[in-house]
Amino acid sequence: MTSSSASDLVGVIGAGSFGTAVANILAEKSDVLLYVRDAEKAEEIRTSRLSSSQRIEDNIEITSDISEIGNRCEVIFPVVPSANFRAMIEDLAPHLKPYHVLIHGTKGLDVNVPDHKKGEPLTRKEVKTMSEVIRELTPVLRVGCLAGPNLATEIAERQPAASVVASHFEEVIDIGQKLLKSDRFMIYGSNDLIGIELCGVLKNIIAIGSGAVSGMGLGGNTRSLLISRGMVEMIYIGNALGGNTKAFLGLAGVGDLIATCTSNLSRNFTVGYRLAKGETLQEIIESMEEVAEGVNTIRIIKDLAQTYNIRVPITETLDKIMKGEMTVEDSHNYFMKFPFRAEIDFME
C-alpha cells in the first residue's frame, strides 16, 4: 500500500460537539474539510473559528456543499445524529465512489419501515446500524466506525483518551489509526464492526438509567448495580442483533459505558438525571442543544426485544418512565424485585 501523504484532505460531516472534536484530532495530521449543512452556520463557523464552543484548527476548511466532501476527500468521517444520518447519506451518495473509505462516529440506530410493513412487529431487517445504512445506500464497501469513551468536552480540553476503529477491512483500521492516533489519543482496532457499533448504541440506554439513579440521589452501590446489570443486558441485545460478546468487554463496551454512566458531561446521563428530578421528557428534549441518542434507542430496542422475546428489564423500565407510565420511584421497586437467575450466563 502506498503511504498516506499528509496533504490528503480528510472529510468530516457534521459540526456537532463530537464532529468538531474529531475534526480537530484529524487536523493535527491532515488538512480537514468540515461539512456543515446549514450555510449560515457554516459562514458563522468560518468567521468565528468556533464550532460547538470549540476553537477549530487553522487547517480546517468549512463547506456547506456536500459534493465537495465526495469529490475532494478519499476518507470521510460522518458524525451526524442517527435521525439525520439516512438523509445525509442519501445526499452524499451521488458523490461517492467505490474507492471512498467511510468511518462514522454516530452512536444510534436507523429505523426504516416500508409502508406495507407498518403496524407489524419491528424486526432486525428494518433496524440498521449506521454502517448498514451506508452499505444500503452507497457503493462504498470499505466502511468502519469509531467508538469509545470520548466525551467531546474532555477531548477538546486535550485530555488523554482512546478509541476503537472497527471494520471488516484491515486497511480501514490502518487508515483510521494513521489519521487519528496521536500521543494523547490512542486507537485500538477491531474487526467486529456490528459489535462495536452496538456497544456505542446500547450504552446510551444504560447511561440514561445511570443518570436517573444519580438524580434520585442514590450512590455508588446502586449505580454499580445498574451498570453491571446494564452490561449484561447490552450483551443480550447485542448478541441478538449480530454482535459478539467480546466487543462489549473492551474499550467501546465497558469503557464507554463507564464514561457515560459516571459523567455529567454525557447528554444521555443528563436526560436520566433530569427525568429523576421530575421534568418531563418533552421539556428535557426541547431544552437540549444536541440530541441524546439514548431516547430513541430505548424505543427501538424495546420494540425489537418484544419481537425477539429478549428480556430487557432496564430498557423496558426506562421506556415506561419516558412514556410517563411509571414514576422513577416505582421503577426502583420494580427493578429490585425483578427475578434474575444466574448472574453471568452469556459466557461459555
Binding site: 490528503d8 451518495a93 465512489k97 474507492y99 484491515e170 486497511e171
Partner: protein, 565 residues
C-alpha cells in the same frame, strides 16, 4: 386408429452458438498449451506459498503434507489415483531427509525444489484434458441420445426412436437472464455459480451451456466422479479439472486456487459449485465455500494490474439455481446430514455414486418419464457483488454506473490487499446466497413436503427434529382437509413473496389448488424406492418416509413462510 401424439411446440427458442469456430474457444486454447499452462500454475502457487507462511516453516509444511499424503495413499486409495502414488510420496520423504543432511545454507534451496516438484505433480493431477472432438461426442450423446430415449418413451411405437417430436428442451425449462448471459459471454469471462443438489447437476449444466450456444465452461469436478469410466470420459470432454477432496493440505489448495485463477484470467468461462459439495440437507445453500470464488476476485485484480489491459476482460458472476422434483441421492444425502448434525463428528468423504448400473437406471427414468426440471439463470454480478447492466457495467444499489477498479484502489492506485479481497469474497458470497433465494423456483412437490412436515411439527410441538422423524405410522396420516387448508395458506404466502420478488414459482403452481396438491404429491420424489408421500384409500395423505420428506421440505426453508400471516 392413429396413436395419440404429443404436438411439438413451435415456439421453442433455438440459440445460435456465440462463437462460430471451436478453435476460438478459450478452453481449446488452454488445452493446446496444457503444459505451458500447468507451468504457469506451478509458478504462481510456488510464489504464493513462499510469500504466505502461516507460522510454519517450509520444512514443517512439507513434512506434514508428505506424511498426510502417505497416509491417504495407504488408507483411502481410489481407482483413479496414479499408479505410482505411494512410491512418489515415499520418494518425497526420502528427499526431504536427504535435504536435512545438507549444510544449513543449502537446505532451503533443497526444500524449495521439493515444493516445486510436489506442486508440479498437483498441477498435472488437477489439469483437465479437454478435447474438442470428445466434447462433440459427449454433446451428441447427451442431446441426441437422450432425445431419442425421450421419444421412445413418450411417443409410442417402434419407429419413434427416429422421431424428432420431443427434445430435451421440452423437459428442461431454462428461465431468467438468458440474453444477458449470452451477451456478457462475448464481452467478458463468465463464472457460473449454481446450486448443487445432485451429481447429475454437472450433466444438466453441461447441457444448458451448449443449449444456450455458449462455449464449454471449465469446472472443478470431484475426483471421485473420475472413478467411473463413463463419467470420467464425460468430465474430461467438457473441460473439467479435478478436485480431490481428500487432499486438504495448503500446497494442494494453493495449486487448485492458482489453477482456477489462471484459467479465469486467461478468459476461460468457469463453473463453481460455491456450496462446495452437494447440499446434504436439501436446503438452498446458505454458507458458501469461498475458496474458489476468491479466485475470480484475484483474477479480476490481476487483469486490472496487468500492463496491457486486454479488452473484454471483465469477469461476471452468474448465479444459477436448479430445480428438481426428484433428487436421486436424496435418501443418502439426508441421512448423512442427520447423522452429522446429530453428533458433529469427523466425517469421511465417501463415494456412494459408484454403480454404473444404478446411474444408467436412473438416467433411463430421468429422461424417459415425467418430472420436469427447471433452471433459473440470475442477473450477472461483478466480482464484488454489484449487478451489471447488459453492457457489463457495474451498477450500484441506486442505479448509478460505477468503476469496478475503484474497489481495488487506495490513493488512486490499484493495490494487492489479500485481507481486502477476502472481505470482498465474503460480501460476494452473501450476495450470491441472496440471489439463489431470489431466483429459486418453488415446485408443487416441495410445497407438499414443506406443508406436510410443518403440519406434523405443529401438531407435535414438544418433539425435537429427531423425535419427529421417528413418528410412528399411525401419526403419519394427515387428513386432506387439514392439509389443504395449510397448503393453500402457504401457497398464498409464496405467491405474495413472488410478487415481492423474493422467489420464483413454477408455472404449475398456478393451477387450481387441488390440482397443485395432486401434482405435488405425484411428483414428490417420484422415483424413490419408497415414495415419501402417498394417498390413502380414503383420500388422505400418508407419509411413508419422513427423512426424505424432510429433505424436500428443506427446499423451501429460509423464506420465513411459517412466520408470515
Amino acid at each position: 386408429m392413429k396413436p395419440l401424439v404429443l404436438r411439438r411446440r413451435r415456439n421453442k427458442k433455438q440459440y445460435k452458438p456465440i462463437l462460430k469456430s471451436a478453435k476460438s474457444w478459450p478452453v481449446v486454447q488452454m488445452a493446446k498449451k496444457r503444459n505451458e499452462f500447468i507451468q504457469l500454475v506451478v509458478e504462481e502457487s510456488y510464489e504464493n506459498l513462499l510469500e504466505e507462511r502461516r507460522g510454519k516453516s517450509l520444512r514443517e509444511e512439507l513434512e506434514t503434507t508428505i506424511f498426510r499424503e502417505k497416509q491417504r495413499a495407504k488408507n483411502n486409495p481410489w481407482k483413479v489415483d496414479p499408479k505410482d502414488d505411494k512410491e512418489f510420496w515415499s520418494g518425497m520423504q526420502h528427499k526431504l531427509m536427504e535435504v536435512d543432511a545438507y549444510p544449513e545454507d543449502e537446505q532451503e534451496a533443497g526444500q524449495k525444489s521439493i515444493l516445486k516438484e510436489i506442486l508440479s505433480r498437483y498441477g498435472n493431477e488437477i489439469a483437465g484434458n479437454f478435447n474438442p472432438s470428445h466434447y462433440s461426442v459427449a454433446k451428441a450423446v447427451v442431446t441426441i441420445g437422450f432425445g431419442r430415449l425421450l421419444n421412445v418413451a413418450r411417443v409410442k411405437g417402434p419407429w419413434s426412436i427416429f422421431s424428432n417430436q420431443l427434445d430435451l428442451d421440452d423437459k428442461i425449462h431454462v428461465k431468467g437472464e438468458i440474453d444477458q448471459l449470452r451477451k456478457l459471454a462475448k464481452i467478458g469471462t463468465i463464472v457460473m455459480v449454481p446450486t448443487h443438489y445432485s451429481n447429475l447437476d454437472s450433466v444438466l449444466i453441461g447441457w444448458v451451456i451448449q443449449h444456450l450456444g455458449l462455449p464449454p465452461f471449465i469446472y472443478g469436478a470431484g475426483l471421485n466422479l473420475f472413478n467411473l469410466k463413463i463419467f470420467a470420459y464425460f468430465m474430461n470432454s467438457v473441460g473439467a479439472y479435478k478436485v480431490d477432496r481428500r487432499k486438504k493440505n495448503p500446497l494442494y489448495l494453493e495449486a487448485l486456487k492458482s489453477y482456477s485463477t489462471t484459467a479465469i484470467r486467461e478468459g476461460c468461462h468457469s463453473l463453481f459449485f460455491p456450496g462446495g459439495t452437494r447440499s446434504r440437507s436439501g436446503k438452498v445453500e446458505k454458507q458458501l465455500k469461498l475458496g474458489l470464488l476468491g479466485t475470480a476476485i484475484e483474477a479480476q485484480r490481476q487483469i486490472m494490474q496487468s500492463d496491457e489491459k486486454p479488452e473484454n476482460s471483465k469477469i461476471f458472476i452468474v448465479p444459477m439455481t436448479l430445480h428438481y422434483h426428484f433428487v436421486l441421492e436424496a435418501p443418502s444425502l439426508i441421512n448423512d446430514y442427520l447423522r452429522i448434525k446429530g453428533r458433529e463428528k469427523y466425517y469421511r468423504e465417501r463415494d456412494e455414486f459408484t454403480s454404473s448400473y444404478k446411474i444408467s437406471k436412473f438416467l433411463m427414468k430421468f429422461f424417459t418419464k415425467g418430472s420436469d426440471i427447471s433452471v433459473s439463470i440470475g442477473k450477472a454480478l461483478d466480482v464484488v457483488g454489484n449487478y451489471v447492466d447488459e453492457n457489463g457495467n457495474s451498477i450500484d444499489n441506486k442505479g448509478k454506473e460505477i468503476d469496478l477498479e475503484d474497489y481495488f484502489k487506495s490513493h488512486g492506485e490499484i493495490t494487492e490487499d489479500r485481507q481486502r479481497e477476502q472481505e470482498y469474497n465474503r460480501i460476494l458470497g452473501k450476495k450470491i446466497v441472496q440471489e439463489f433465494h431470489r431466483i429459486n423456483r418453488g415446485f408443487s412437490s416441495h410445497l407438499v413436503a414443506f406443508t406436510a412436515f410443518k403440519y406434523l411439527e405443529k401438531i407435535h410441538p414438544s418433539l425435537d427434529l429427531y423425535s419427529l422423524l421417528r413418528l410412528s405410522d399411525e401419526d403419519l396420516i394427515i387428513s386432506y382437509s387439514a392439509f389443504r387448508d395449510e397448503f393453500s395458506k402457504n401457497l398464498r404466502i409464496l405467491k405474495e413473496k413472488k410478487e415481492a420478488g423474493e422467489l420464483g414459482l413454477a408455472d404449475h403452481m398456478y393451477l387450481d389448488i387441488d390440482d397443485v396438491v395432486k401434482h405435488g404429491v405425484k411428483n414428490l420424489g417420484m422415483y424413490h424406492a419408497m415414495l415419501p408421500a402417498v394417498w390413502t384409500k380414503s383420500g388422505d395423505l400418508k407419509i411413508q418416509d419422513m427423512n426424505v420428506l424432510y429433505y424436500y421440505h428443506n427446499k423451501l426453508v429460509g423464506y420465513d413462510i411459517e412466520l408470515s400471516k
